[in-house]
Subunit: 165 residues, 2 copies
């Protein structure tokens, strides 16, 4: 059976903005991204989980150089629409396993998460696509996480274009 | 400039399991997916946002036929590791815009979210990859959402292999 994971990527150049207590009603997500779009802000990840009691949290990542501007834009909007807080976290890294063969494999996710846990690395955020499982972790663990996942999925340590994307 | 969005996809065959009040410590995510993997459960999306006060929520989707089994597996684990609740929602649809040209465009996200909002469709979850922005909505809005997004991104209504994936 084909090895499901073909590479590890990491991105240490992002910062995370989390909006806490976002009113879970139509129109709020659009206001958030319209505000960012008006300032031509680039956004990489967007993560929103389900709400409870009419509120949810929404996180997105931007290049670290744009972090302060993103926080400022959202802080203004937060007052206007009733978002409770805007939290900026700069020292994050996004570490991903990539593979066409891994679609739907709960076992691949389990292995990624358990190897990170074994190194004491807390997983702050998780997001997936058909070919990728991404974890956001504290940036201080980046190199340890990448080495750990290379070993876990037997990918060898030769430099690949993916490895420091 | 190239049209950033090249297609709309939707999946009405998934159900969502949300674990509420997940201890935000290394090893919990791995236990969750090890439990699913032992039963050979297929998982599509995994979404986890940042925690507060040591707790976070973690959602994942499974084929609707496996929803009860997934809930049962996680309910057992929840007791063991201190997860507060396991909530199953079956009537969901995942609607996505796809495009190689849309990477980092906050404007594309803003447009998707605002067109859904204009139809009164609440966005329950958001997840992105480099080429895709996915929203989980109530399944009753699926056809309306797909039509709305086709119009928004001027994609025409001729059937494409993507459209009902
Ligand atoms: C929280 C936000 O996504 C809201 N549910 C909306 O649809 O805009
Ligand atoms: C919540 C869960 O992801 C936890 N942070 C872990 O690392 O396992």
């Amino acid at each position: 059976e084909q090895e499901p994971v073909s590479g590890i990527t990491c991105d240490k150049n992002q910062a995370k903005v989390t909006l806490i207590g976002v009113p879970d009603q139509p129109g709020i997500a659009s206001k958030i991204f319209e505000a960012l779009s008006r300032e031509n802000m680039n956004v990489d990840m967007i993560i929103q989980n389900v709400g409870q009691e009419g509120l949810t949290d929404l996180s997105f990542t931007v290049p670290r150089g744009n972090a302060d501007q993103a926080k400022e834009i959202l802080s203004k909007l937060a007052d206007a629409v009733g978002i409770k807080d805007v939290v900026l976290t700069e020292r994050i890294a996004k570490v991903s396993i990539v593979g066409v063969g891994m679609r739907s494999h709960s076992g691949v996710a389990a292995k990624m998460f358990s190897r990170l846990a074994a190194e004491g690395i807390n997983i702050m955020m998780i997001s997936t696509s058909e070919i990728k499982i991404s974890c956001v972790i504290h940036s201080k663990y980046t190199e340890l996480a990448v080495r750990t996942l290379h070993e876990a999925f037997e990918l060898g340590m030769k430099p690949t274009p993916n490895r420091k994307k």
